[in-house]
Amino acid sequence: MSKVEPGRVREDEHLIVEGMDISGHWNRMFEQRVLWSHDTGPLEKLTAITGAESLAYCYQCGKCTSACPVDSVGSYSPRKIFRKVQTGTDLLTNPDLWLCTTCANCLRVCPKEVNMISIMPALREVAVTEANVPPELQKAFENTFQHGNPLGEPARKRADWVAEAGAPATILPRERRPVDVLFYVECYWSYHPRGRDAARAFARVMEKLGVDWGILGPEEKCSCDSQRLAGERGLFEMLAEQNIRTLAKYEFSRMVTSDPHAYNALRNEYPKLGAEYPIQHYTQFLAPLMGQLPWKRRLDYKVTFHDPCYLGRHNGEYDAPREMIRQIPGLQFTEMFRCKANGYCCGGGGGGMWLDSFTGNHVTERLSERRVREAVETGAEMLVVCCPYEVSRFEDAVKSTGNEGRLLVRDVIELVDEALR
């Protein structure tokens, strides 16, 4: 890479413009110069990829840099990515390819609509096709392919959480009947110990509400949205087709899911494959029903709330979880300074959930750690979440930032359940 030559100075000794004498240094300016010093090939190679075209639109204004959550713990943002590519970085083999969590805060502020939510999956798909995938992400892909979930847990154990719920859940493949609500449990509520806590709380709340609901049990597979955003589009399509076939076997009048990523997939992506569902996030389903719940106790907790990127920015829902928090008796609620449309990211989206170690080598702290510090700053003693990725991410971050004993992390459904006991 050659050094950029300074532009040649141009100065007219005698110059009168519209009757004004601007001779000498008054008219000094640089000659226009073109950046020939960099090969435009790498940029053109990327923007030729379907889905990645808008990277070329960047005019380096830098608005995204202040919005990008990764930049606040490292050196990253669409503007910086563009510049690196422009000056010769091959993004397809560079760690930067995997740091974006597709949180969409850059797109919110970008005047040129440089769309990283489209660019990143498209570029990653090329890298995946060339078998250039960080090992931990590859493992998540392989697990999803082999077992239908990124955790690598046996499919047959997908509904095991039901046994200890203390409330019934109809497992539709075993007990075939029409239900009002088909609950799409998703992987982390099915398998992760803390997710299972939330799933069980959900079952108990549904029983209190007298909702007629069922789950797909071992037939449910990952909705696969995050794998799609991490570049495995083929895997997404394969599982989506399987899920669509499975869903077609059962009768239900609406669908509810635990996971904003599944919500995003079922609301925005599955329709592109010809399957439309009346889908709600569980906070959207429960918020209007909160008045019917027989509260038993006040929860005198100071809480704050973290917006999931895929519920909030991606799908515009900021109110439902806040409405739930408002109605749970006793909670004192404070917003964090980054919230709602400008909410920070937990780092788990877009494949980040399976790249923690990889990402850790390229940032000064995890996004979840930064967010936990912000939650502590509000004076809250509890961080309330409503995305299955977040409980374990934030609980880890509470430990690693030395805030154990100072901040608890709870899914909002756990609080509802607690106030009913």
Binding site: P134, P135, E136, K139, S357, F358, G360, N361
Partner: protein, 320 residues
């Protein structure tokens, strides 16, 4: 009356330790069958190898230049020849690298059944009952072999001491088969373990398995090893994935270790791994799967998530 034939694995360093374990097992089987123990030692020169094999009743010496250094094709021919001429009821071969080559090849050539991965062998009437580790050690298969059979025996399953005792055995010479003169396999060179370290000499080892997830997580284990003053070891999948060099591999195709302390992290405990470390003085295993076979040989175990336990333990050890 059935005899037991032991294939004596050997190299330029002498008789392999597994051979004595086999001789010990053979003695018991021969007693049950009312037969004798015959030891086949096939090498370029056998004079220096034979005296160690006194636990046998008969030492069968077969010599040919093609038999040293080890060539699978030559040794299959040698064992096949010995089985044909001596017609033993039981043939014992170590379940080692050479054992895979030799036992299956000879069993096929002599039309005898083969039972692999044996950890227990007993005589029941006329038959041999074997216990074998299958499915990565998660299940044990019991088989019954009526009539002649070939058995490969897992290293460490039988004590070596019984096979090392014994007086002077009778010796017989077996003619090498003619095929050894026209082999299709040639020895080119031997390679010593690379990597500069010798985990076999370490008195403390922290070994990582597939449960560590990826190379980026090795640091957790390295930090624990440093806090313990231990070397880092690995199971085969970790080495095959290129996360750690071959020289750090513990198990059948790696090193056999007997440290004072062996910490197995994220290792499920396939039989091939267990045979390389089961004699460690204190074995501590961390694996989230409570059914992992590693807990069979470990003295202490925990099913804690290694990503939680390792940092906690490292911190404690650094502080103490």
């Amino acid at each position: 009356m059935g005899n037991v034939l032991v294939y004596v694995e050997n190299s330029e360093t002498g008789v392999a330790p597994i051979a004595f374990e086999l001789l010990g097992a053979a003695r018991r089987l021969a007693a049950g069958l009312g037969g004798e123990v015959e030891a086949l030692v096939a090498a370029g020169a056998t004079a220096e190898l034979a005296p160690a094999l006194g636990a046998a009743d008969v030492i069968l010496r077969m010599e040919h230049p093609a038999l040293s250094p080890y060539l699978p094709e030559a040794h299959v021919a040698a064992l096949t020849e010995a089985i044909r001429s001596r017609d033993p009821q039981v043939v014992l071969v170590g379940n080692t690298s050479a054992g895979i080559d030799v036992a299956a090849g000879a069993a096929a050539a002599t039309q005898r059944p083969l039972v692999a991965y044996c950890t227990g062998l007993a005589v029941d009437g006329e038959a041999v009952v074997a216990h074998s580790q299958v499915y990565g050690g998660k299940l044990v298969a019991t088989t019954r072999t009526e009539g002649p059979g070939v058995f490969t025996v897992v290293a460490g399953a039988f004590p070596g001491a019984e096979g090392q005792s014994g007086g002077k055995a009778a010796e017989a010479t077996l003619a090498a088969p003619a095929t050894l003169g026209s082999l299709h396999t040639r020895f080119i060179a031997a390679t010593a373990p690379s990597g500069g370290i010798d985990i076999g000499r370490a008195d403390r080892l922290v070994s990582v398995g597939r449960g560590i997830g990826g190379p980026e997580n090795l640091e957790l284990a390295q930090e624990l090893a440093a806090a313990l003053g231990a070397e880092l070891g690995a199971s085969r999948p970790v080495v095959d994935s290129g996360w750690l060099p071959k020289a750090r591999q513990v198990g059948k195709s790696g090193m056999t270790v007997k440290p004072k302390l062996y910490v197995a992290v994220g290792i499920s405990g396939a039989p091939e791994h267990l045979e390389g470390m089961r004699e460690a003085e204190l074995i501590l295993a961390v694996n989230s799967d409570a059914n992992a076979p590693i807990f069979e040989v470990a003295h202490f175990g925990s099913t804690c998530d290694l990503f939680d336990l390792l940092p906690a333990l490292t911190e404690r050890l650094q502080a103490s």
